[in-house]
């Protein structure tokens, strides 16, 4: 089976690129990044704040299986509907430094679209550390949370 989501991470670079083709029209894909209740569903987070505009900011909160809360936040630098979002992303109360994300949304056909997520980290080491997080922990909390949500839906 072809992998729909691709991660391109070159050795010794402090960035990575995630690409994904969706069986969704461009407008619907973009909406999934803008509507707080939809973001909450697919990210498996509470959306405390989401101001989708230039100079806007956002804050999400997840709860792990032990009941601990983890917050994420960032500032939106560019917001062009159905084209791009440039934003920062930071995990609160962790030593992991803020990262810069360039999200580009493109139409492929009337019914399909592509997202390119270019993420820049503070250092090569930090990027590699974050890449290995799910690997090193064996269990990723966000992932688990997502599994929980999905299994409840089924």
């Amino acid at each position: 089976m072809e992998r729909k989501t691709k991660v391109h991470a070159e050795t010794d670079k402090q960035e990575l690129v995630i690409t994904r083709e969706f069986d969704l029209p461009l407008e619907l894909l973009f909406k999934a990044y803008v509507e707080p209740d939809i973001v909450a569903q697919w990210m498996g987070t509470n959306v405390l704040k989401l101001e989708s505009k230039k100079h806007g900011s956002y804050q999400f909160e997840t709860t792990d299986p032990k009941g601990n809360k983890h917050r994420f936040n960032g500032v939106i630098h560019e917001f062009v509907p159905n084209q791009k979002i440039t934003r920062t992303f930071e995990m609160e109360n962790t030593p992991l430094s803020v990262q810069l994300e360039f999200l580009e949304f493109e139409p492929l056909t009337d019914d399909t679209s592509q997202l390119t997520m270019h993420v820049v980290y503070r250092s090569v080491e930090l990027r590699d550390q974050i890449l290995k997080l799910p690997f090193a922990q064996g269990i990723n909390m966000a992932h688990n949370r997502l599994q929980d949500v999905v299994s409840k839906l089924n």
């Binding site: 691709k6 999934a32 697919w42 974050i130 992932h143 949500v149």
Partner: protein, 107 residues
């Protein structure tokens, strides 16, 4: 699991990564590898030993010289360390896709 961690430690060093890149093009003797670095020969030997212990390199005796090959299978394991990260995003995006398909049909 421990073995994998060792592999990551092995590739965390810039000299060892450079050695892997060199050997990736073709198998080389320890001397030929060392000739590419300013560091002392025993230092390079130490790096070769670590890479061999982690099974990233394979040794083969050829006459008086030891030849080093890249162990492609092991290198693939390193490539695979991105896989859980990719899987995480793939799951999220699959979820996004199914939610939006429902959203669309409700309209």
């Amino acid at each position: 699991m421990n073995l994998r961690r060792d592999v990551f430690q092995a590739i965390a060093d810039p000299t060892r990564r450079a050695i892997l890149l060199l050997v990736a093009s073709h198998a080389m003797t320890a001397g030929a590898i060392a000739a590419n670095f300013d560091t002392a020969r025993p230092t390079v030997s130490k790096h070769l030993q670590i890479l061999t212990e982690c099974e990233l390199l394979k040794q083969e005796q050829q006459g008086r010289e030891m030849i080093y090959h890249l162990n492609a299978t092991k290198m693939k394991e390193i490539a695979d360390f991105i896989e859980p990260f990719r899987q995480l995003w793939d799951d999220r995006f699959n979820k996004l896709e199914s939610i939006m398909k429902n959203y669309q049909s409700k309209k």
